[in-house]
């Protein structure tokens, strides 16, 4: 069993010990599967600990100590498979899980694409992606930081009359994946966040909004007071919202929401939706989807990236790559199973795209508003209403009515509708206003026309 070690310097002794423990559990799971006659098996084991602290109106509200374990095993009997999972990592539970998975496999049927990926695709060299930065913050200090954040929000404007609170959280975990082809790989990672949600009231009605920051290392978190102030500004900006009449106008999607439009794209090019024919982009490979100059790429090895991973959920090596180039759809994002169904090779995307990026344009937010001219600047979206099979798009929205590039008043209780194919083809510009937390890099998006339904 070859064991691929992450960069030695990245692992603290305690991490090393835990990693070995989890690797042992993987070995035990694979060994038990072999004993029961499975022709192949794969397993994932994880553990994590954390602290989540919430405050409200300047006082501590909740303190949660989290501790999670999990194991999942999939066994293959030829091309039949069965799976089991549990939160109990004891030997007895481990044996039970394998037994259950094997029993399930006596009822499932042969699918020629069931099985492990080819050995040459596995992540045999695991890059150190700098994902683990434990934050030894005490409960008291976490409370103080959360209060600092909420205080800044409440002090930002006299119209901030209430608060849902602020929270600080930190999690540290270890995950190991291994399969019976000899691959085993694991790495520690951490995730910390800070968030705040407040309520504004101008006597005519209440509005709420929030802001947050999330990072692999505490030093990369946005300053707590800045997070609080932004939450307050967003809440106050919604006050006095009104509906508008039904019309067809250009729409500027705030950068954070443009990331959502990219997520619809990522789903539409995902192998599972392609082999099932449940994607509105099914027949569009090689065609112009976006104006030239548009590229969708992913950066799974971005150091400290929030979605970074050295291998996907099949254990296949991830790599930086593009799926839309100069506006043309150039490839599907594939895990092993979907790739097999399509007669292609895995692109290391079992589990999705990681750290999506599009090229930023030349205009900042005000420049994008001027480009918009007269229309709607959308800053919040609600509900479902996106049909992945057809691309039909209809969602609740709120934002600001804009005239000649200047924000006039807040708008709410409206919907915006179109079809994603048309929205992508009619993407006029992307801003350079990439100003939101998360793993996606994009500015705001100006779409030529959508239908607003209102009063």
């Amino acid at each position: 069993m070859s064991i691929t070690d992450p960069h030695p310097a990245a692992l603290a002794d305690s991490d090393k010990g835990q990693l070995e423990q989890l690797q042992q559990i993987i070995d035990d799971l694979l060994g038990e599967a072999r004993r029961r006659g499975a022709s192949a098996a794969e397993a994932v084991v994880s553990n994590s600990t954390g602290l989540e602290v919430g405050v409200r109106l300047g006082e501590v509200e909740t303190v949660e100590h989290t501790r999670d374990h999990g194991l999942g095993v999939t066994v293959y009997f030829g091309h039949r498979k069965g799976s089991a999972s549990t939160s109990d990592l004891s030997r007895a539970a481990l044996r039970d899980a394998v037994a259950q998975a094997c029993t399930i496999a006596t009822h499932t049927q042969e699918d020629p694409c069931n099985g492990l990926p080819p050995a040459e695709l596995m992540a045999n060299a695991i890059p150190d992606l700098d994902l683990s930065h434990p934050w030894a913050i005490s409960v008291d200090d976490a409370v103080r930081l959360a209060i600092l954040c909420e205080d800044a929000a409440r002090a930002d404007d006299p119209r901030i009359t209430n608060s849902e609170g602020a929270s600080v959280s930190t999690h540290a975990g270890l995950q190991v994946y291994g399969n019976s082809n000899g691959f085993i790989g694991g790495y520690p990672s951490t995730r910390h966040s800070l968030s705040c949600a407040v309520v504004a009231d101008d006597g005519d009605g209440m509005q709420r909004d929030y802001w947050w920051s999330s990072a692999r290392a505490a030093e990369d978190l946005e300053e707590a007071a800045a997070v609080g102030r932004r939450a307050a500004e967003r809440a106050v900006a919604r006050l006095g919202g009104r509906s508008i009449g039904t019309c067809k106008v250009p729409i500027l999607f705030q950068a954070m929401l443009a990331a959502g439009l990219l997520r619809h794209l990522a789903a539409a090019i995902s192998g599972d939706n392609i082999y099932r024919k449940t994607s509105f982009l099914l027949e569009r490979l090689g065609e112009q989807l976006f104006p030239s100059g548009f590229t969708l790429s992913e950066e799974p090895h971005k150091p400290r990236g929030l979605a970074s991973a050295p291998f996907d959920s099949d254990g296949v090596a991830t790599r930086p790559q593009a799926f839309v180039e100069d506006g043309v759809l150039t490839g599907w994002s594939l895990g092993h199973y979907a790739a097999c169904r399509l007669g292609l090779q895995s692109t290391g995307n079992a589990g999705g795209l990681r750290n999506m990026r599009v090229p930023l344009g030349e205009h900042d937010r005000d420049g994008m508003l001027r480009l918009l001219g007269t229309g709607l600047y959308v800053t919040d979206l609600m509900g479902q209403g996106v049909n992945g099979v057809t691309g039909d798009y209809s969602r609740g929205a709120s934002g600001f009515w804009v005239e000649d590039g200047i924000i006039q008043y807040p708008v709410e209780e409206i919907t915006i509708a179109s079809n994603l194919k048309d929205m992508y083809a009619n993407l006029v510009a992307i801003g350079n206003d990439c100003d939101f937390p998360g793993s996606t890099t994009t500015g705001s998006w100006l779409i030529e026309e959508m239908t607003i339904a209102g009063s």
Binding site: I104, Q109, R208, G383, Q384, V389, G454
Partner: protein, 480 residues
């Protein structure tokens, strides 16, 4: 039922070797003069799932979760820790961590008493064992065959079956021990249909807190297959939906998502205690048209959204939220009930032992009115008739809510016309129910498919309503 408690003890406690003395000590460790309330929630849950796709049983899974969550509440503060290791040292540490929320005071001593008698809305059974695995597989094949034979345009069928037994046992600082053994089953069918260059998908399904034979009875399973195909074929013919404010007639049953989003979340006790809900401070005011009565009822036999006791050990009840258009009640858990100085309503729910309870819905529905559904449609000159929905979402502070139609038709001159593409409807919670101008006599609950998400926690729920006419909802189509 002593039966339920005995089963829970044997499933959750017996394998751990924890004695009643240990339980007393644990709850005592959480207790002190500074602590207003505390509980220890044990859970053991097992789930089995099967998926049929491309005509074969492609996958199946089995999952076991177990652990205990320990909670200590002081005023508005909650300390919480959980452990999946059900042994004294780990649980003792978790208790210490939780109790640290309130400084000072010594550990108290609590003796756990006998459980109160409780409802029996479902049998304390394990639905995974209610049918041999071979029969589950055969059922999925029959569902697949039924869907495919209905129409040559059906190109893909995915159907899945899930069965869960979820056992809980909660001990609280007031000396009570409550337990519940909760079965839950669900069958889902999703089909894709193709005609020319058009492709559409639709889903149907249902479930209950019963054994799997429920799906075999009354042709239910095959009925879901037929319904998914029917809906998908309607969508193949659908044109652009209208855009703008109009009269909307909502069908009975699952369209009750309207109530869940428009008023349900806004009437949860935590939002009203904090004053962040658009319904805060409005008890006694008119929030709906006369004739509108909305309840949250956890006591319906066998329903997905029902519970014998909530996750804090309080019995569920039928709580009237809106009576004849007047706001009369909120849904409460222990913490918020105490802070608002009202009784708990049995709405304290949590996704698992690893999550904190908060006020959540059970089965939320509107009582039937007087009108025939045909009469309601005939009364509309131009509008939308929406009979199936995906899900919805709400901003409880501004009151704005959405729900997305998956099957809808134009109404023209009092008659149901051509089908239109699913559009999202948006409205304002505190005022939408004042625009209900006709209430049908055909109250229905959904088929047992609802899952509600709040603050990252999912719980199974039910919704329902009769056919309703709403004068003024904004329809998010593309045809302006």
């Amino acid at each position: 039922m002593t039966d339920t408690l005995a089963i829970a003890r044997s499933q959750v406690l017996a394998p751990t070797g924890l004695t009643d003395g240990d339980l007393d000590r644990l709850i005592g460790a959480l207790h002190s003069p500074a602590i207003d309330a505390a509980d220890v929630y044990f859970q053991h849950s097992r789930l089995q799932s099967w998926v049929l796709e491309d005509g074969i049983i492609k996958d199946g899974g089995f999952n076991i979760e177990q652990g205990a969550g320990l909670r200590a509440i002081s005023g508005e503060k909650t300390g919480f820790a959980y452990s999946d290791e059900l042994a004294m040292p780990a649980l003792g540490q978790a208790a210490d961590a939780a109790r640290a929320i309130a400084r000072g005071g010594h550990a108290g001593h609590v003796q756990i008493g006998v459980q109160l008698p409780q409802q029996a809305l479902y049998a304390p059974m394990n639905p995974i064992e209610s049918l041999p695995d071979a029969d589950k597989v055969a059922l999925l094949h029959r569902v697949d065959a039924e869907a495919r034979k209905l129409d040559p345009r059906v190109t893909q069928v995915i159907t899945s079956l899930v069965a869960v037994q979820d056992t809980m046992l909660v001990i609280s600082d007031d000396g009570r021990m409550s337990a519940d053994v909760r079965p839950l089953i669900r069958l889902s069918v999703s089909v894709v249909v193709e005609a020319g260059d058009r492709r559409e998908r639709a889903s149907s399904g249902g479930g209950a807190r019963r054994g799997l034979d429920y799906l075999l009875a009354e042709d239910r399973a095959l009925g879901f297959a037929r319904e998914a195909v029917r809906q998908a074929l309607v969508n193949l013919e659908a044109d652009e939906a209208p855009a703008g404010r109009m009269t909307v007639v909502l069908g009975p049953g699952w369209p009750g998502v309207l109530l869940h989003e428009a008023v349900g979340h806004g009437l949860e006790g935590d939002f009203n205690r904090k004053g962040t809900s658009a319904f805060a401070g409005r008890i006694g005011e008119r929030v709906a048209a006369p004739g509108v009565t909305v309840v949250d009822d956890g006591t319906l036999e066998g329903r997905r959204g029902s519970l014998n006791v909530d996750d804090e050990g309080n019995p569920t009840q039928c709580t009237t939220l809106i009576e004849d258009g007047i706001l009369v009640g909120y849904m409460q858990d222990r913490l918020n009930a105490r802070l608002m100085r009202v009784s708990p309503t049995g709405n304290g729910r949590r996704e698992s032992y690893a999550h904190l309870p908060m006020p959540r819905m059970t089965n939320t529905y509107m009582l039937a009115g007087e009108h025939d559904p045909e009469e309601i449609i005939a009364s509309v000159d131009r509008g939308l008739y929406a009979v199936n929905f995906g899900g919805g979402q709400v901003d409880i502070t501004s009151g704005k809510f959405t729900f997305s139609a998956s099957e809808a038709y134009l109404i023209e001159g009092g008659r149901i016309g051509r089908p239109v593409k699913g559009a999202t409807l948006i409205g304002n919670g505190p005022d939408v129910l004042t625009r209900v101008s006709m209430i049908g006599n055909d109250l229905q609950l959904d088929t047992g498919v609802g899952t509600c998400g709040k603050e990252g926690q999912s719980v199974p729920v039910g919704v329902g309503q009769p056919t309703l006419r709403v004068d003024g909802l904004t329809v998010g189509g593309t045809h302006a």
